[in-house]
């Protein structure tokens, strides 16, 4: 299960941090943050609840980059 989300992030390094963080969230099997197109592609692990996982992703990302935004 793969989904693309629009994000808002200002710096490339922060985008990298978001990617790192998202990968560590439970229920996410892989993630890529594309700074240039301002998109986040999340691959969910099998059986993971998308909505709950993304909420957790957003919370984790806010921690590393308070200015970021993910359109859920």
């Amino acid at each position: 299960m793969k989904k693309t989300y629009s994000i808002e992030v200002d710096c490339a390094n922060c985008a990298n941090l978001m990617e790192e963080t998202t990968k560590k969230v439970e229920g996410v099997s892989n993630a890529t943050v594309n700074f240039m197109t301002q998109k986040m592609i999340v691959e969910f692990a099998e059986g993971a609840d998308e909505k709950a996982t993304m909420k957790e992703v957003l919370r984790a990302c806010k921690k590393v980059e308070p200015d970021c935004e993910i359109e859920l």
Binding site: C11, A12, N34, M36, T37, P66
Partner: protein, 651 residues
């Protein structure tokens, strides 16, 4: 500028004005006690500082709370707060530096976010081929609907100036299409009823009614958009290097700065028994911190790749990721499929050799052709083949060019594997290969030209033969020559055709090596053989038209599919997709990749050199905060500007 950037700009202007005012106005001459003056001045500076830098302070603080210290916010907060503290401790009353550093940093950040945002939009606009709506006709009125709601077989109307939203076939109307967003080709393409057209083109003049042949999701435009949007997700080694580098680099610099602050004073006091000079070393350590921001590197590398991918997209070269761009820049072997790649893949009547003496045994006759004779041969051959839909027959009919009257043909007899016998205007005609001539007892001339030979006998007499062959693309030879100039070690051609034809093509375009009579599986093993021979730093590209060669496209380091409009398998399997089917785009893509990588290395080298230089100057006390700010913001700006070069067209 977006809302955030506007707000930032206002903050910068307000604090800059306040900073200038306090320096220009004669505040020192105010009639007030000295203590109040000093405190008042400090408070005023703190106000400016908070206006310009509150978000940095907040982020730095949050970073510490979240146990994520050592980011650039932290660096800036420590440096500026430190400079403030230093001014208070030394009672110098010079708070300008701390505020100015923050001001410049924020200006740089604003510029960066503006420049990056702008280039991001520029590049996205280049690839803006997404259609917003489709016009469908309902009860005589035209209605705009979401393209994804249109079912296959619906008639859609495309007005002049609109994008074709879905792939289809023209039912009605004549127009020219601008395909430049897809192919980079600037000459418009004319379409008439019956022509297939692909989505993403812009209709230039006439109204077209199109019967859709695909869903929106399966249409060319959706496929391309999907490809482009996912492209920068495949990260190159240089990009990964930079993000790993930044992760190690920032903490290292922070510890170095700390060491710079602690070790020399301790050394001074305990070993040299001199005064500690704490303030000097604190200042140096802070300058060190400002210099060290890794933004220039972190921002410019992905930006370069993105700009290069965007620029390539504009020219009809779609690269699926920056890792492929990197691989492409190291290409040393290029393997081509022949049919459809170096040649047009369509059969064409190349020559007609009559049975005259001049055409002789070697039928190299290019002189003294009796044109009427040629026409007669072609006419009879085309008529005899009228009922057949074989590609060879089609090419005969196409070469004849005029309408064929079926009533002139009777008694058509197709002899499988040989050819056709028929009566044209009552005259017996035999059209076919050498076996047919032998079977019918005609004495025929052999031809040493590569291609398919169609012998023609009319009214019991051998009249000559027609040479049908695949035509080499106009730019093939030039493409091979350019590849050689780009340092490609070996260009190889693979084909399923037989040796004579392959050899002829290979000679024409001066390719280094060719292998003929290959089955699709043989192509894979040939490519594998080449792969095993090259060393790790070299890469191998395979260029094909996507028909039957998906396995090879996948197997090669870089699979390049050309003329891929419509061939989904090729778009899936390839790493680089050429919208056009012109082989000249192969050297172009390689040149583009090489330039992008050169810019990346320039930026890495330039940024590191200046940074390390300034870091050393800061450590020995030769750099002040102003130089430090240049080393941070200035380098970043230069790197971003350099990165944008990747967007410029290549020759």
């Amino acid at each position: 500028m977006n809302k955030k950037q506007k707000k930032m700009l206002t903050r910068i202007i307000i604090s800059a004005v306040m900073l200038i005012l306090i320096n220009v106005l004669p505040v020192d001459k105010l009639p007030a006690p000295e203590l109040i003056m000093t405190i008042g001045k400090l408070i005023f500076y703190i106000i400016i500082y908070v206006i310009i830098g509150y978000d940095i302070l907040r982020k730095a603080f949050k970073g510490i709370l979240n146990r994520r210290v050592f980011d650039e916010n932290f660096l800036m907060a420590v440096a500026t707060v430190g400079a403030f503290a230093l001014a208070i401790i030394t009672k110098s009353g010079d708070y300008n530096e701390a505020v100015a550093v923050m001001l410049f940093y924020q200006t740089g950040e604003l510029f960066q976010s503006y420049a990056v945002g702008k280039s991001r939009r520029n590049i996205s606009e280049l690839m803006d081929i997404r259609p917003d709506y489709a016009n469908i006709e309902k009860d005589g009125t035209i209605e705009k609907v979401d393209p994804s709601e249109v079912v296959i077989g619906t008639i859609i109307v495309v007005n002049p100036g609109e994008k074709v939203p879905i792939d289809g076939v023209v039912e009605d109307g004549i127009s020219s299409l601008n395909t430049s967003a897809l192919t980079g080709e600037s000459v418009p393409r004319d379409v008439k009823p019956g022509d297939e057209i692909i989505s993403g083109c812009i209709n230039l003049n006439g109204v077209l009614r199109i019967r859709t042949t695909k869903d929106f999701g399966e249409s060319t435009v959706s496929k391309i958009l999907e490809l482009v949007e996912n492209s920068s997700s495949n990260k190159s080694r240089s990009e990964n290097f930079i993000s790993r580098f930044a992760r190690v680099y920032t903490p290292v610099v922070c510890y170095l700065a700390l060491a710079l602050f602690i070790i020399p004073p301790v050394f001074n006091v305990f070993i040299l028994h001199n005064p500690a000079d704490i303030s000097i070393w604190l200042y140096r350590a802070l300058t060190f911190l400002v210099v060290s921001c890794p933004c220039a590197l972190v921002i410019s590398i992905p930006l370069t790749f993105f700009a290069a991918i965007g620029g390539a997209g504009r020219e009809g070269i779609l690269v699926k990721g920056s890792n492929y761009l990197e691989a492409l820049s190291k290409a040393k072997y290029v393997v081509f499929d022949k049919t459809g790649t170096l040649t047009q893949g369509v059969f064409q009547v190349n020559d007609i050799h009559c049975s005259c003496d001049k055409c002789g045994e070697f039928c190299g006759c290019e002189h003294g052709h009796n044109e009427n004779e040629d026409k007669r041969i072609l006419e009879y051959a085309a008529l005899a083949e009228i009922a057949s839909s074989h590609p060879i027959s089609n090419s005969l009919k196409l070469a004849y060019g005029k309408a064929l009257d079926i009533s002139r043909v009777t008694d058509i007899e197709e002899i499988s594997g040989h050819g056709i016998k028929a009566r044209v205007d009552g005259i017996p005609v035999a059209v076919g290969n050498a076996r047919l001539m032998e079977r019918e007892g005609y004495e025929y001339k052999k031809c040493n030209h590569p291609g398919t030979i169609v012998h023609v006998a009319i009214d019991g007499k051998y009249e000559g033969h027609i040479l049908i062959s695949d035509v080499i693309k106009a730019q093939s030879a030039k493409a091979i020559a350019e590849l050689k100039n780009l340092g490609i070690k070996k260009n190889v051609m693979l084909t399923g055709d037989d040796k004579v034809i392959a050899e002829h093509t290979a000679k024409e375009i001066k390719i280094d090596e060719f292998h003929a009579n290959l089955l699709p599986a043989d192509k894979v093993s040939r490519v594998e053989e080449l792969l095993s021979k090259k060393n790790d730093k070299e890469t191998l590209c395979f260029v094909g038209d996507g028909i039957n060669d998906a396995p090879v496209l996948t197997r090669a380091d870089i699979g390049i599919a050309m003329g891929a409009m419509g061939s989904d398998a090729a778009i899936e399997a390839a790493d680089v997709v050429l919208m056009d089917d012109d082989p000249i785009n192969v050297p172009k893509a390689i040149r583009l990749a090489k330039r992008a990588l050169r810019i990346v290395y320039e930026n890495i080298g330039f940024a590191l050199l200046i940074k390390i230089g300034c870091l050393m100057l800061a450590a020995i006390g030769l750099a002040n905060m102003w130089l430090a700010i240049f080393a941070d913001v200035g380098v970043m700006v230069l790197c971003v500007l350099n990165a944008m070069r990747a967007l410029i067209k290549v020759r």
